[in-house]
Structures are given as structure tokens and as C-alpha cells.
């Protein structure tokens, strides 16, 4: 008897949990399904990262008031949002709109989960780099809301003047009595994103561009002469200890906060930490090791419309006509402190000298390639750079990198 009773209690718990789970799964994203049947029933589900839910709520409420379409903002984990979107859209249970980054575009489009967007005449209201990044294969897929690029954070108490070039930066830092004046996030597997400005200064972009200005996977520029020259330079800096693969993001931050480094090549996401750490921060362009401009990658953030959305008309309308307004873009800016993609909002935001600093650097930035071939590049790029920094033969390692990438793209 007694054992029996325990069995039934356990069973009750199990059944309750499993039915709830099943029901939960079913209700999780299916709200879009019945959406189109009645006008009063129309709703949009929007996936955003948790930090920006509040920033969008105002726009969502305004849209509901005006059109009667309910906009449900769902906070999601940034790390899983892309894979969840790709997996759920084909089942018809994904959201109508998701927040994302432009370098997902290749993957999203290859999987057929995004629908093109028509910005119409408002296209010219966005920063050039934002619009360029939102375009894939000739069609615009993303409503951009922020442009992110790295720049040099300078501790103005240690070094008062911006550096004119790379050697000058090291010299100024040494003059200030620092062993390791410049830090940049690396790691055992390198970090090519942060080293890219130097690579472009040697005239070696990853891919060439075709007539329309889109990256061309068939035109791999990585292994060009400039690439080898860049590898030589990496090797020299590694030998001199200027670049060190043992410095990861946390160590770089600590060195800068401790005043052991005066220059830190990083993105806007780290400015808060530096300012909170009491550092007198100024934003400088990336000092070039050559006489060419050092252009960092620009990452553009934006919103995509699901290809299986039953409410594409409302989704387009909400994105282009509501999220594409200065007010909403500034709301989003406040939530993330990243330069808005709408030119008018960007100019307003740039009243902050830090944002203005990043905006100046961003003028030279190039969009990170979104083509699927870029995935293969990331896979080998950092490790090769790390090897060169750690003393591997620059020319041979770089050649192997170019060969491996070329092989992987095929």
C-alpha cells in the first residue's frame, strides 16, 4: 500500500511536468500561426536580446495603438538566437521578426529563413556602411539600427596626444614608462577581428568586391602580397612582445584598467568598464603600421523578417516605418550605447565625444563579409595569426592559411 502511494505521487508529478512541458512547447512560438485569420487577431512576435526589450516596448505600444496589431517583444539569449531562428522558422513557429547582426545574413539567406525588406526611399536615410551591410545579393534583408566598430581607447592621463602611427604609439607609450603600452584582445586561437585594421593597412582585405560592391567569394585576397607583408609584420611584433597571444579579453581589460597599458584596441562594449574604472578615456583612430588607413570591420545590427511570417505586411511596416525613426533608434542607442544606423539619430548621438570618436573611426570601417565563405575564413585565420605571432614562419604559415581557406570554400 505505502509503496503504491508513493508511486502515484511520483506519477502525478511526472504527468504534470510532462503535459506542461508539451503544452509549453506548443504555445512557445505558435502565436503567429492563427495571426492572419482575423484583423483584430493580428500580432507580431519580435525576438530581441534581453537588454533591448524595454527600448522597443515604446515602439511596440505605439504601433498597437495606431494599427491594432499587437507586437509581442520576446527577450532571447543572444548566443542562441540565430540557431533558434534558423531551426524554428521552417516549422512555422518562429517569430515574425528577429534582431540580429548583418554577418548572419549569408547563413540566414542560404537557409531561406529571411524575407527581403523594402526600405523604399528611406534607404538614403541610413549610414552608407549600414545600408551596404544590410544588402545581400542585391536585396536589402535587414533594417539596421546600430553600427559597431573597434577603435583605440587611449588613457589620456598617461599619453596626452593621439598617436600618429603604430610606431609612434609604442614610442609614446614607452616614453610614458610602460612595458606593454598597447593591448589588444588575442588568445591561443588568435583574434583576427581585432587585428583586421592592421591587415587592411597592408592592403590585404579578405575578399575582393564585385562591381556592385558586394564581397566576392571567388576573389580571395587573403594570400595576396599585402597579406604576406602583414604576416611579416605580425611576426616582428610578436617577437618584440608588442602582440602576445596570452593576452585575452580579460587580461587586456585588466592591463588597461590598471594603467599598465595606455592604448587598448577594442569596441564600444568595453568603454563602460574603462570609464567606470576611472580612466580618462579618449577614442582615437587605429594607428596604422603603414601609410595606408587602418580600417576596422564594421558590424551592423538590425532586424530581419522571417520568410515564414504570416504577417509580412505588418512586419515590414513596423520595421521600416516605426523602428526606422529617429526616436526609436535613439531609444535603442540608450539601451546599448552603440552608434545608431539612422544618420539623423547617429548625429544626435554623436554629441557624446566617445560616440563621436567611434563614429569618426567608423567612417573608414568596412562591413564584415556576410557571405557563407567567411565562416571558413574565421576557422583558420586566427590560428594562423596566433602561430605567426608566436614565431612560426610568416610567409609559409600565411600561404597555408590562404590554401586551407581556398580549399574549405570549395
Amino acid at each position: 500500500m505505502k509503496v503504491n502511494k508513493r508511486g502515484i505521487v511520483a506519477f502525478g508529478a511526472i504527468a504534470a511536468i510532462s503535459t506542461l512541458t508539451l503544452a509549453g512547447c506548443a504555445s512557445g512560438g505558435a502565436d503567429t500561426q492563427g495571426g492572419g485569420e482575423e484583423s483584430t487577431d493580428s500580432s507580431l512576435t519580435v525576438w530581441v536580446d534581453a537588454e533591448r526589450v524595454d527600448a522597443l516596448q515604446g515602439a511596440a505600444d505605439a504601433y498597437e495603438d495606431k494599427t491594432g496589431v499587437k507586437v509581442e517583444i520576446v527577450g532571447k539569449d543572444v548566443d542562441t538566437i540565430k540557431d533558434d531562428f534558423i531551426q524554428q522558422v521552417p516549422t512555422g513557429k518562429g517569430p515574425d521578426i528577429t534582431m540580429g547582426a548583418h554577418d548572419w545574413l549569408g547563413e540566414l539567406s542560404t537557409n531561406g529563413v529571411v524575407a527581403p525588406l523594402e526600405l523604399g526611399d528611406s534607404a538614403s536615410d541610413y549610414l552608407d556602411v549600414a545600408l551596404q551591410a544590410s544588402t545581400y545579393d542585391g536585396a536589402v534583408y535587414m533594417l539596421p539600427y546600430a553600427v559597431e566598430n573597434i577603435a583605440v581607447l587611449r588613457n589620456a592621463d598617461l599619453v596626452a596626444e593621439p598617436a600618429t602611427d603604430f610606431a609612434d604609439m609604442i614610442a609614446k607609450g614607452k616614453a610614458a614608462g610602460l612595458d606593454q603600452p598597447f593591448v589588444v584582445e588575442q588568445g591561443a586561437e588568435g583574434n583576427p577581428y581585432h587585428l583586421y585594421p592592421f591587415q587592411t593597412a597592408f592592403g590585404a582585405p579578405v575578399f575582393g568586391t564585385d562591381a556592385s560592391g558586394s564581397y566576392d567569394a571567388a576573389d580571395l585576397q587573403l594570400g595576396s602580397e599585402g597579406g604576406t607583408a602583414f604576416a611579416q609584420w605580425l611576426g616582428e611584433q610578436g617577437a618584440a612582445g608588442v602582440l602576445n597571444t596570452d593576452i585575452d579579453g580579460e587580461i587586456a581589460k585588466q592591463q588597461f584598467l590598471d594603467g599598465k597599458a595606455a592604448f587598448w584596441l577594442t569596441g564600444p562594449w568595453n568603454v563602460g568598464a574603462a570609464v567606470d574604472g576611472g580612466i580618462n578615456v579618449e577614442i582615437d583612430p587605429v594607428p596604422s603600421p603603414t601609410d595606408q588607413v587602418a580600417s576596422p570591420f564594421a558590424g551592423v545590427k538590425g532586424f530581419f523578417v522571417s520568410s515564414e511570417s504570416d504577417n509580412k505586411v505588418a512586419a515590414n511596416d513596423f520595421l521600416v516605418n516605426y523602428l526606422g525613426t529617429e526616436d526609436v533608434q535613439l531609444e535603442l542607442f540608450k539601451a546599448g550605447n552603440i552608434l545608431p544606423a539612422l544618420t539623423a539619430a547617429a548625429d544626435t548621438a554623436a554629441s557624446d565625444p566617445i560616440i563621436a570618436g567611434f563614429q569618426t573611426v567608423g567612417a573608414d570601417a568596412v562591413p564584415m563579409p556576410a557571405i557563407p565563405a567567411m565562416g571558413a575564413v574565421w576557422e583558420f585565420w586566427g590560428v594562423a595569426e596566433a602561430a605567426v605571432i608566436n614565431g612560426a614562419d610568416p610567409a609559409a604559415t600565411w600561404q597555408k592559411l590562404a590554401d586551407d581557406v581556398a580549399a574549405a570554400i570549395k
Binding site: K2, V3, N4, K5, G7, I8, V9, F11, I14, A15, T19, L20, L22, A23, A26, S27, Q33, G34, G36, E37, S39, T40, S42, T67, G68, D83, I86, G106, E107, S109, T110, N111, A115, P116, L117, G120, D137, A139, A188, E189, D246, S307, D310, N311, K312, V313, A314, N316, V320, P372, M374, G375, A376, V377, E379, F380, N390, D404, A407, A408
Partner: protein
């Protein structure tokens, strides 16, 4: 059975002074164990289950989830039958476990198995219809320098059309999917845009939203010449002129590129493929038989590192089990000595590594083993620069050390329990017979210990064989092999290699990953079965 006797024993012991609370508890227990109480309890619990199931069914019904709904109803009915019937006594015990087993084990296993036989992955993500729709959508190119046309969606006898105002010459025209734009007169104007015209009903914005899917399909030819393109409206208010660079012939199952004339055929590989092998992506999901399994063992890029990775996986799993077991056993023996003071304090300290989340520990160790900034080199070794994680051999040693640190507390706990289960008489008998301590340990205690611990060692082997977290967090497989063209390194084990091969960069190959998982499952299952057979022999000892 033993439970009941234990309870009875406990009750017998506490008879003398029953406090008020105990009396209350006893009376509740009495009532509950009675026939009516038992019935009531059963009914209440089943009512709760049914209520939840009913709610779930309702939610599922509103979302048109027919399959899951049928399952929930079926299971609920079955459960009610089992617990109300007087006959199905064994089922009463088995049902909860079986339901759990099906939901959490059988379903996942079968699903993984199924995926292993498909080409599910990047570019093969959905159905063919979805792929065709996505291709056609992305093939729409806006005609350069064409203006934005203010449009109104209109309806006539159930057919949707567009009322278009030309912003350049102010012409008003109407057209549908089948009828190219034709000029109309007498339209109602509002701010320079036509909003209504006789014979057509204008749709309100809410109606436009409600018929979103039809409006997405609405493509009004600009003129009789299809090369002029068609007007579409993405937001129901503005129309744009598009031309399509792809043409789909449903009957022939082909896609034609209108610019280059290339014909892409469905050749059964899950994507439209041109004569020279170029694929149009997205494609769609199909079953591919044993292709993934064949690729898993024959693919050029995988075959290279496969052997060394497999050897290292076995070495890693075996050494991890052996080292953690012997360290755990040694410590258990030491702390089993009752003469030691503060035994419990030491024990708690030793169990600490087990209490931290494993991947957190792995990350902390990765930081401590950093060559120029790590705690080990900087503080413990006074500024040495030992490449703990970047030298191929040392990285393997580091992985084993960290896994030893992570794994020994478990073995310590298990061995401590098992040792306490060995009666002292055995020890005494050995001493009487003149055995020295080593002989007692080696020939009496260890075999007795292994009877209980051996199955745990096997499961520990299976766990370490697939210890993805540790490798991924500590070294991420690095340092990389110099001579292979996939991003695999010296400390990669099979499961982390699979992860890298199947999910390289932006490519997600779920089919290949599932096939690999099944192969690994078979390997581990075979080893486990053989080992369990062997341990049966140990049980003869008891």
C-alpha cells in the same frame, strides 16, 4: 518491502512518549493508509493530472497541434484506465517510468537516428515548397531608379488588385495578378494618391494585414511585356517595380536563371542543381540513406586526423577513469581510518571540486594555465613560462590533470561508501590468516570493492569518452594539427571533433553530426556491454 519493515521498526522504537504532533501525524497517516483515504488521495492526484492534461489539450487545440493533442489525450486516458482498473497492477508501477523513458530517452534517440539519415543542415533547412518560395522571393530585384508608387489594395469579386498612382505623371491604374495595369478614370483622390475607384472595394489597413499572405503573392504586371516587371507591395501602402531573375517551372521541376539562361534541375539531392553541378541554395531536406555514415568514415578531411583523435579519445577516457579511481580510492582508504581527527572537515574539502560546475572549473583552470599571465606560471612557479595549454604533449597532460581534479571527488565518494559496506570481519579474518595489509587490500578488499564500483567505472568511461565540456572549455581541442585542413587539434576527442566537423564556421550539418553520434553511441555501447559481461564474473564473489 524493506521500507515497510524499517518504518515499522521506527514506529516501534518511538512508542513511549507520543507528543501532540506525533499523535496528529500518526492519525493522518492512519487515515491516509485506510481504504477511503487512499481512494481519496488517488482521486485527488488523478484529478490534478487530468486537469492539467485538459488545460494542455485546450492550449494544443487552439494552436492546431493535432498530433501532440492526440498523444496527450491518449496518454491521459490510458493513465486513468491503469490507475482506476483493479487488474493492471504491474502497469501501476511501470507507467510513470515508461512515460519518462519515452519522453526523454526514446524520443531523442529515435529523432537523432532519423536526422542521421537526412541531409538536414545549412542550406537544407525546410521543405521544398519553402525553398522554392524563398528562392523566388530573393530573386525579386527592384528595377533601378524606379520610383515608389503609392498603392491601395483593392478587391473585386474576391480577386485582389492594386490601385496604383504613378508619382511621375499622376496616372491612375488598376491591375491584378492576371491583368496588367490599365488606366482608370474617376478615382477618389486623397493628397495626390488614388484611394478608391468605382467597381473595386478598397481594403482598410486591418484588412490588408489580415490578408497578408495573399498580398505577398500579389504581383501586378506593369505592362503586357513581362520583361517590364511587376508591381508588388511589401507594406500595403507603397508599391515598387520588381523584375525576377529566376523562373520556376513547377511541372518540369526546374528553376531558370533569366539573366544567364542556366537551368537548375531537381536531381534528387535536395537542391536545384545546374548541369555543371552548381547548387541554388536554399535547398530542402530529404532523406539520404547511409550517405552521412559513409561520409563520416571516408571523407578526406575527416580521415586524416580520425585515427589519432580516436586513439587519444581512448587514452583520455581510460587514463581519466584510472587516475580518478585510484586517487579517489587512495583518499577513501586514508579517510576510512577512524583514528584520524577532523575527518569530516577533510572530506568536505575533498568534495568541493565536485560541487563546482565542471565547465566553470575548466575555464578557471584555462586561466590559471595561461603561459604568461596564469597563476601557475606566475605565482607558483615564480615567473616560469611553461606552455601548459599550447604544447601538444603538455596540453594533453594538462587536460588529464584538470580532469583528475574534477573527477576524483566522485570516485572518493563512491569508494568511501563501498569500503564502509565491506564488513570488518573480512579484514579480521585476513589478519588471522597472516595476510599483510597489502595482501588484504589487493586480494580481499579490492575485488569486493570492484563488485559495487565496476559498473560506475564503466559509466565513468562512457562519460569521459564524450567529455565535451572539459575539452571545449579548457583547450578547445588546441593546439591544432599542422598538417590537416580541418580545425582539429591535439587534444580533440571524437565528440569535439564531430562538433568541429559538423559545425564548421557557419555550416551546420546536423545530418552528419547525428550520424557521428550514432557511431559513437555504438562504440560506447559495445564497450559497455563487454565490460558488464566481464563484471558479472566479479559478482560470483558474493
Amino acid at each position: 518491502m524493506s521500507d515497510t519493515t524499517a518504518v515499522e521498526k521506527a514506529e516501534a522504537e518511538q512508542t513511549p512518549p507520543p507528543t501532540r504532533r506525533q499523535r496528529q501525524a500518526a492519525s493522518i497517516a492512519e487515515a491516509a493508509s485506510g481504504r477511503i483515504g487512499w481512494m481519496l488521495l488517488k482521486i485527488v492526484l488523478l484529478a490534478i493530472v487530468d486537469a492539467i492534461a485538459l488545460y494542455a489539450a485546450f492550449v494544443l487545440f487552439t494552436h492546431h497541434e493535432w498530433v501532440v493533442l492526440a498523444l496527450v489525450v491518449l496518454v491521459t486516458v490510458l493513465v486513468n484506465y491503469i490507475y482506476f482498473s483493479r487488474k493492471a497492477v504491474p502497469a501501476k508501477y511501470l507507467t510513470p517510468g515508461v512515460i519518462f523513458l519515452i519522453v526523454f530517452q526514446v524520443f531523442t534517440l529515435l529523432y537523432t537516428g532519423y536526422i542521421g539519415f537526412t541531409n538536414y543542415g545549412t542550406g537544407h533547412n525546410g521543405s521544398k515548397d519553402q525553398a522554392v518560395a524563398a528562392l523566388m522571393r530573393s530573386a525579386q530585384e527592384r528595377v533601378e531608379d524606379s520610383p515608389a508608387y503609392p498603392v491601395t489594395v483593392v478587391e473585386q469579386l474576391g480577386t485582389l488588385g492594386l490601385l496604383v498612382t504613378d508619382p511621375e505623371d499622376g496616372d491612375i491604374s488598376v491591375g491584378t495578378n492576371d491583368q496588367p495595369l490599365a488606366e482608370v478614370d474617376g478615382a477618389t483622390m486623397e493628397g495626390g494618391e488614388a484611394t478608391a475607384v468605382d467597381g473595386w472595394t478598397s481594403l482598410s489597413f486591418a484588412q490588408v494585414l489580415a490578408r497578408s499572405n495573399e498580398i505577398e503573392q500579389l504581383s501586378v504586371p506593369f505592362s503586357d511585356d513581362p520583361n517590364d516587371g511587376a508591381i508588388r507591395t511589401p507594406d500595403g501602402q507603397n508599391g515598387y517595380l520588381y523584375v525576377s531573375s529566376l523562373e520556376y517551372d513547377e511541372a518540369a521541376g526546374t528553376m531558370t536563371d533569366t539573366d544567364s539562361g542556366t537551368v537548375y534541375k531537381d536531381i534528387g539531392t535536395g537542391a536545384f542543381t545546374s548541369a555543371d553541378g552548381e547548387e541554388l541554395l536554399p535547398g530542402w531536406q530529404i532523406t539520404v540513406g547511409f550517405d552521412n555514415f559513409v561520409r563520416a568514415v571516408t571523407d578526406e578531411s575527416i580521415r586524416g586526423p580520425l585515427i589519432s583523435v580516436t586513439i587519444w579519445t581512448f587514452v583520455f577516457a581510460l587514463i581519466s577513469v584510472a587516475s580518478t579511481f585510484f586517487l579517489g580510492l587512495l583518499l577513501a582508504l586514508v579517510f576510512n581510518n577512524t583514528r584520524m581527527r577532523f575527518r569530516n572537515g577533510y572530506r568536505i574539502l575533498l568534495i568541493l571540486p565536485y560541487a563546482f560546475p565542471a565547465f566553470l572549473s575548466a575555464l578557471v583552470w584555462a586561466g590559471m594555465m595561461n603561459e604568461s599571465f596564469g597563476f601557475i606560471n606566475q605565482v607558483i612557479l615564480g615567473g616560469a613560462s611553461i606552455p601548459w595549454l599550447t604544447d601538444p604533449v603538455l596540453a594533453k597532460v594538462s587536460v588529464l590533470i584538470v580532469n583528475l581534479w574534477l573527477g576524483f571527488p566522485y570516485m572518493f565518494l563512491v569508494c568511501m561508501g563501498a569500503l564502509q559496506g565491506i564488513p570488518d570481519e573480512v579484514n579480521e579474518a585476513g589478519v588471522m590468516d597472516g595476510a599483510n595489509p597489502w595482501q588484504i587490500f589487493r586480494q580481499i578488499k579490492l575485488p569486493l570493492l570492484l563488485v559495487t564500483v565496476a559498473p560506475l567505472l564503466i559509466s565513468s568511461f562512457a562519460f569521459n569518452f564524450n567529455n565535451f565540456n572539459l575539452i571545449y572549455m579548457l583547450t578547445n581541442g588546441g593546439p591544432r594539427f599542422d598538417d590537416v585542413s580541418i580545425p582539429v587539434g591535439h587534444t580533440d576527442i571524437l565528440i569535439s571533433m564531430v562538433y568541429k566537423v559538423a559545425f564548421t564556421g557557419q555550416t551546420r550539418d546536423y545530418g552528419l553530426a547525428s550520424a557521428f553520434t550514432i557511431i559513437i553511441f555504438i562504440v560506447v555501447a559495445v564497450i559497455s556491454i563487454i565490460s558488464f559481461r566481464k563484471t558479472k564474473a566479479l559478482e560470483e564473489l558474493n
